[in-house]
Amino acid sequence: MINKITSSALDALATVRDGATVLIGGFGTAGIPDELIDALIECRLRELTVVNNNAGNGDTGLAALLKTGAVRKLICSFPRQTDSHVFDALYRANQIELELVPQGNLAERLRAAGAGLGGFFTPTGYGTALALHPDGSPKETRLINGRGYVFETPIHGDLALVKAERGDRWGNLTFRKAARNFGPVMATAAVCTVASVYEVVELGELDPETIITPGIHVTHVVPIAR
């Protein structure tokens, strides 16, 4: 019998080790899996690489994780926010590495990982300072039908933390409004995907036509209070 429902977020994160790459869903305030991030903080891991669109807001969630010093490197598209003071201070003190990635390249690099691709050529970033590797060397480029493209590689996660709305014991998930954002893509790109849900339902209760992430991509479903 398959039962991916895991009542304890800590149990769901038991396999994660120091140095892991952790994909964290969410965009701004929508879809941030705060409860799962809190459990990750409790794991007291070090040297993590975290992938998220932003770099944390205020002092909770991702910002709280950053504050513990658990994160060595952040891969994101838009770290600067009015309330990203935790990241800002770490960055200015050279205590965190930043890989800045155009947002669509971030999403597609995750998709490529989940889809088993070795990378892709994209027009986004061609001819700009972001068509460089983190070490400053140029990324591979190619002219295709007269247009310039940059070669981007996949981003694989050891762990993905996503916030869903409803889930069943097979791990099928639905999302709510624009809180979907990176969740379904990150769920495909990690070895272990943990999804928080507000509601656990019986198998068959989710309309198969409306399941956004099929359970094949999900390792643990953690119920949380609304």
């Binding site: 965009f27 701004g28 305030t29 929508a30 879809g31 669109n53 598209s77 838009f78 770290p79 600067r80 926010q81 990203s84 990241f87 800002d88 960055y91 200015r92 930043l98 800045l100 990635v101 155009p102 947002q103 669509g104 390249n105 971030l106 999403a107 597609e108 995750l110 998709r111 994209t122 027009p123 986004t124 970033g125 061609y126 001819g127 700009t128 300072a129 972001l130 310039g148 999302f175 709510r176 409004k177 624009a178 809180a179 979907r180 954002n181 990176f182 969740g183 379904p184 893509v185 956004i212």
Partner: protein, 220 residues
């Protein structure tokens, strides 16, 4: 130089909105261009795209009706119109890169005569870089339009022969809407579309310091 007829932000937004056609799929980025939504001509249907996974984005909700699972690219609460849809980030950006968005309107630090865009970084030492979806939008939309003041606070033209700030995209901008004029740009350089009343073509050439072809009688 003081221009009495200078367009304020709302007037620039209104000028941009005049050129948006019925049935267009439009992305208004973040910040200043989002005001275009308030000026869309009556009687046309325009579908607004938000990079975080929304088509059919509606205006901001009434106070008390905010839903923080329903926000725009600038992270402000919005609403969904009838017919609207949600999708994930990879689909949202595939929509851009795939050329399915008709028009995107972005702010800018500089635009070159050939349509190179610089809008994500001033290259200031110590500043925290952030790019978001700007590079994807700039090269992905069928037409990228810029909305900005023509001059910097110190009177320098933001329309330049070549950008000195870090680039967002090469040769991607088609139209430049400003407080003083509307220009087209591209492989053939700058062309005048309109100026505010009282500002002549010669005045504008003087301000920008670059050649500008006269408005084409055959439209643009």
């Amino acid at each position: 130089m003081n221009f009495l007829n200078k367009r304020d932000k709302a007037a620039i937004a209104q000028r941009v909105a005049q050129d948006i056609f019925d049935g267009a799929y439009v992305n208004l980025g973040i910040g200043m261009p989002t005001a275009v939504a308030n000026h869309l001509p009556k009687g046309i249907e325009v579908v607004l795209h938000s990079e975080n996974g929304i088509l059919g984005m509606g205006p901001q909700p009434a106070a008390g009706d905010e839903d923080f699972d329903l926000i725009n690219a600038g992270k402000q609460p919005v609403t969904l119109l009838k017919g609207g849809a949600y999708f994930h980030h990879a689909d949202s950006f595939a929509m851009m890169r795939g050329g399915h968005i008709d028009i995107c309107v972005l702010g800018a630090y500089q635009v070159s005569v050939k349509g190179d865009l610089a809008n994500w970084s001033t290259g200031e030492v110590g500043a925290i870089p952030a790019v978001g979806g700007a590079m994807d939008l700039a090269v992905g939309a069928k037409e990228t339009w810029v909305m900005m003041d023509l001059l910097t606070k110190t009177g320098q033209s933001k329309v330049v022969s070549s950008c000195t700030y870090p680039l967002t995209g090469l040769a991607c901008v088609r139209r430049i809407y400003t407080d003083l004029c509307t220009l087209s740009c591209g492989p053939d350089g700058l062309r005048l579309v309109d100026t505010v009343e009282g500002l002549s073509h010669a005045d504008l050439v003087n301000l920008i310091g670059l050649p500008i072809q006269p408005a084409s009688s055959a439209g643009h």
